[in-house]
Structure formats: structure tokens, C-alpha cells
Amino acid sequence: MRKHHWALSLALAGCLAVFIGFVAGGIPRLEEETDYVPGQVLLKFRSWVPVWRRVAALSNVRSRAVSRITRLDVFVVQIPDEAKVEDMVTAFNRNPDIEYAEPNHIFRAAVTPNDIYFKYQYALFNKGQDIDWVPGGPQGKPSADIKAPSAWEETTGKEDVIIGILDTGVDLTHEDLKNKILPGYDFVNDDPDPTDDHYHGTMVAGVVGAETNNGKGIAGIAWKGKILPVKVLNDYGEGRASDIAAGISWAVEHGAKILNLSFAAPSENITLGTALKDAFENKDVFIAAAAGNDNTAVYYPAAYEKYVCAVAATDYNDERAVYSNFGYEIDCAAPGEKILTTIPSYLTTPLAPFPYGYGWGTSMASAHVAGLAALIKSIKPSLKPGQIMNIIRYSADDVNASVYKGKDEFLGYGRINMEKALVPLKITN
């Protein structure tokens, strides 16, 4: 060498050291968001290892204990900034003095709403809990649910997705609904007051989109979607095809992109079918309908298989509800048995002062599907209703596969799974 340029030589040496580190995989840099605490490892020494060897084991790799879980004799170890947790764990686990080393994993709560009765909504999240607020009631089978909390991490919906509830009306003053309701219409009495004088529409509306995370009542599936109440059934829960068809057209004209039709009749009606076809084909409206509760062939409008997503009912054990209608038109199933939801405030009594109660049937099941469709529409607004229907179909869990593998006439493609429908599917090699 002709001259000594120490500074340059040191820089060069440093550069080469880093480079060698790269090539050898020595201390690669942490680069990705991880599911563990960056720069930390949990480590347990074998009990007989003396303190000086513990200290040496850590200092040899430029690590240090930052805390200790005394009862478990586990150390929280800080590793060098540039080191990768996986590599350090591997290295520590090769040391015979160490019983085990592992990443300091991060556990995250799924989105759990604070609505006080959410714990009874097994349909949304079933961990085998009591599903009746009266002691001695049934318990569900864990995971016999539609995986709502994990799906809510992806989306809780958007306010501009309007869900038309064509039913007996909705309790417009209900504490868990009033902030979600748009001005609707009453086609039974031909006036702009769609107040529920039955109870069915309020129950359906609660499942679809009760106000959520408000510390009251129940959680709705579409937290942010707006409810458009369209009263087409009277106080006996019955409605004329003409009113229903007019209500469908009105809802579509007033911006509804999702319709829930939790009513059924065995007879086809051309006018009703035409209104549904127009909504589906010309206005890109997704339509969910109840299959019917008479353990017979699928009723209309669910039987309009081209335009309508026909929904069967399951229970808290992921089994078909015995009353659920069946047929090739069934697209999917959703929980319909003992569903806690909103009821009209006027039904409360001093002995039952809370405006919530249990509903049964494919009406409740259909409402779950309408809520899911609203969430899909909110994050993928360009999708056509047929595509939304297929997403709901293909993401369903084939819960009766042991008896009927694949699509069948009882549960269609299976019980809906919100997580699979909404959360990005991880593709690995």
C-alpha cells in the first residue's frame, strides 16, 4: 500500500462487514410488520444453568434481559436492533443451556363491539356460550357462527350502502335503530310513516344493521349501512304482491343497493318477479329472501333463483333448522334459530322492559345474508349483484358436508362465512 488512509480503510472494513453479514445471513434487518414484538425474544434457561453462564449466553450475542417473569423464570430479552427475531430464536434454541426461546408474540383482540347483548348473539360469534339470557337455555357449538368479529376487522360497512327492509315497517324510535334509519314509506297505508305495527320488520332490521358499538343492545352486521324501511306487510305480517312490487321499485329508486325480503308465499307472482328482475338486472340490486319456514319446497320470492339469494336457516349447532324450506333454489344458509334482535319499543312491559327479543326462522337467516351483502358492497362497490351472490355462496362453510357434500338442497353451498367473504385470502406457496 502506498498510503494509509485510516478513515477510508475503516469505512471500507465496515462496509465489507455489513456486506458479509448480508451474504452470510448473519444479522439481517427486520423489515416487515410482524406478529411479534420486534427486537424481543422470550427465553427460558434450564434451571441448573448458573447466572454467569446466562449472562454470557446473552452478552455473546449482544442481547440483554430487560425483564423477567419470576414465577415462570422466563426472560424478556432485547436482541440487537439489526437482528432478526426468527434467526435469534433459532440461535438461542441451539444453545443447550436454553430450554426454549420464542418470539414475544402479539395477541390482538378481534373487533368486539361493546353492545351489552352481543354475548348472546351466537350467530355472529359462537364460543359455546349461553345464548339465552334466561338461565338453563341452550348453549351453542363453538364456531357455529358466521365469523363476524374477524370480518369487521376488514370492514364495518359504509353509510352510502342503503339496505331496503321490505317488511312490516321498523320501529323508528328504537334506541338501537333510530340513528340508522332513512325516511321510508308505508305501502300498506300509502303514507310516509313506515312505523312497525307488528314486530317482524324491527327484528329483521336489527339483525341487518342495529347501531353497533354504542354500548346498547345488540350488534348489527352492517355497522354503518343505512336502513331504508319500506312497509309492505300489515300488522298481521301479510302483504299484497302489488304493495311489495311497488315497495321494491320505490326502494330501488331511493338508492337501495341491498334488499331483504323476509316473507314468503308458495305461489309465483309475475308482477313481483318482474320487479325483482328489474332491480337485479337494471339497478344492480342484491336481493336476499327467506326460503320459508314450512319444511317444504322453497317459497317465492326466494324461488326466483336467478335474481334472489335464497336463504335457509341453521341453528346454534350449525345444523339445519327443521322448519327450513328446501330445494335446488337454496343458495346458502345462515343462523335463524333463537336470534337475539331488536323488537318494537311498544312491546316492552314492566316485566320485560328492554326492547330486545329472540326471533326464529329463515327471516332471521335472510337478514344475516343481507347484512353481509351490504358489507361486501361497501368495500367492492363495482360488483354486480350476481357476483356478490357468488362470493357469499363460494365462501360459505359446507357444514353438512358429512351428509351432503357440496351444494345441496337443504343448505345450498353452506352456512355463510363473513370472514372468508371479506378478509383477504392469504395465498402462500
Binding site: 488512509h5 469505512a11 360488483l383 362470493i391 363460494y394 362453510d397 357440496g406 383477504p424
Partner: protein, 264 residues
């Protein structure tokens, strides 16, 4: 920077470096002013990329192996071209506009790569030389197929990716050692490309293309050339590329390369 401006910048950089008249370093003997060299090089880089109009970021990790032909017109001016293969890992891209959203974690997609570079020495100050270098690399579009198995219907995914990189800037070399020539470069370093995912699940179909752009535009490279004989040299370098994270704060991406050069 828009896609149209990048080729313009590239042209200016390459032309700028090429048109500079090389400084006469030392008297060149007739017949020794032109050399043809070939080299084998490997490179690894990890680069933060942003997508969806800068809303999200992930990493592009690429391992590259190239064969390179180099024409040394004078001791101070070299032009080269290279071709090779790259494994490019785009893990972390999330496609939310497909019918079923996809979180891509499938790892490397291999593909061909080619490029060209220019290197010149502009000034000599004592044992230091000040020059300029520019490089353009294009990883050609390549395809990989995957299956979706987590639904009740089988689905298929076709991934297509390509990326380009342009870099250039001044280089300071220290020539005071007999065998080693350490160098430092501060270079403009731009990376851009696309990753397209097509999804088919029975009758559900969708395609989503992501335009990706590398974060950071100026990298610092340090390295050395080890030249023990007139027939062989080894070049090693590491690059640090600082960038501003989404949401604020600084971070640094790294890369490294080794090149073995044989003279003919």
C-alpha cells in the same frame, strides 16, 4: 414521478454520463485502450414499495444473477450490458378489488432481467477520482400461477409482475491502494413496476393491477474493487437507501452486490 418521465430521466442520465469527455488519467498505450470483459454478478436488494396511490407499503425483495459484457473504451470509460435472472418477492401486496380479496404471500416469482450501464471517470484529484455511473435494469414480465383452496370452490390466480430500476450519480474512488479501490457513490435510484393478479373462481372473474413505486430516490453506496491481477477483479458494494415511511419517520432500505469480472 410519472411513468413517462422516467424514461426521459433515464435518457438524460445515460447520455449525460456517456457524453462527458473522460479525463486523461494516464497515457494510454496504443492497442491497450479497448478491453472486452465479462463478469458474473449477483445482487440482493430489499426495497420498500408503495401502491394504491401511496396508501400502502410493502417490500420488494429481489435476488439477481447476471452475466455481463463490458467494453472498456479507455481506462476511464466503460459501457456494459447484462442479462440474467431474478427472483422477485412481492409478499405483502393486498388486492382488494378482486371478487375475493387476496393477500399475496406466495414468495418469489422468477423471470428474466436485462439492462445496461455506463461508467466514466471525469476528474482526477491526487489519489481520488471523481466519476459518474448510470444503470438501467428491466425485469421482464413473468407469470406464476396459484390455486385458491380455502373456499368451497377451487379457484385460480395468475400473477404477472415486472419492474424497472434506473440509477445514476457521482462516484468517488480512492486509488491509493495497490489492489483495492474503495468507492463511494450517491446515486439517484428509482424503481417502478406493476404486479397484476387475475382471479377465476368458477364464474367469478376479476383482474387487479397494482402500480408499485420504490420509496426513496437517493441511495448511498459504498464498496470496493479488488483487482489482484490484470485478468481478474472482484467488486463488492452495499447500498443504503433512506426513505420516509407512510405516516412519517425515516427508515432505510438495504441492498448488496458482488461482481466477479474476467478480462479477455
Amino acid at each position: 414521478m410519472s411513468g413517462k418521465r422516467i424514461p426521459t430521466v433515464l435518457c438524460f442520465m445515460v447520455l449525460g454520463v456517456a457524453l462527458f469527455r473522460p479525463a486523461p488519467i494516464q497515457a494510454q498505450e496504443p492497442g491497450q485502450s479497448i478491453h472486452i470483459k465479462s463478469s458474473l454478478g449477483v445482487e440482493y436488494f430489499s426495497r420498500t414499495i408503495v401502491w394504491d396511490e401511496g396508501l400502502y407499503s410493502s417490500k420488494l425483495k429481489a435476488a439477481i444473477g447476471v452475466l455481463r459484457a463490458e467494453l472498456e473504451l479507455q481506462k476511464s470509460f466503460t459501457i456494459g450490458a447484462f442479462a440474467g435472472y431474478t427472483l422477485s418477492n412481492f409478499n405483502g401486496l393486498i388486492f382488494r378489488q378482486l371478487p375475493f380479496s387476496i393477500d399475496y404471500e406466495a414468495g418469489n416469482i422468477g423471470g428474466l432481467l436485462w439492462g445496461a450501464d455506463v461508467d466514466t471517470i471525469l476528474f482526477v484529484v491526487g489519489d481520488y477520482t471523481i466519476g459518474a455511473t448510470a444503470q438501467f435494469a428491466m425485469s421482464l414480465r413473468s407469470t406464476a400461477e396459484f390455486e385458491i383452496l380455502s373456499l368451497n370452490q377451487k379457484g385460480d390466480l395468475v400473477a404477472k409482475r415486472k419492474w424497472n430500476r434506473v440509477l445514476g450519480g457521482p462516484v468517488i474512488r480512492y486509488t491509493g491502494y495497490e489492489y483495492f479501490t474503495p468507492f463511494l457513490s450517491i446515486a439517484y435510484n428509482r424503481l417502478w413496476g406493476t404486479f397484476t393478479l387475475s382471479e377465476t373462481i368458477v364464474d367469478l372473474e376479476g383482474t387487479e393491477e397494482k402500480t408499485i413505486t420504490g420509496k426513496g430516490i437517493v441511495g448511498i453506496t459504498v464498496g470496493t474493487v479488488y483487482e489482484p491481477s490484470a485478468l481478474f477483479k472482484l467488486k463488492a458494494e452495499v447500498t443504503a437507501l433512506p426513505y420516509t415511511k407512510i405516516g412519517g419517520g425515516l427508515d432505510v432500505d438495504y441492498g448488496a452486490s458482488v461482481k466477479v469480472v474476467v478480462f479477455f
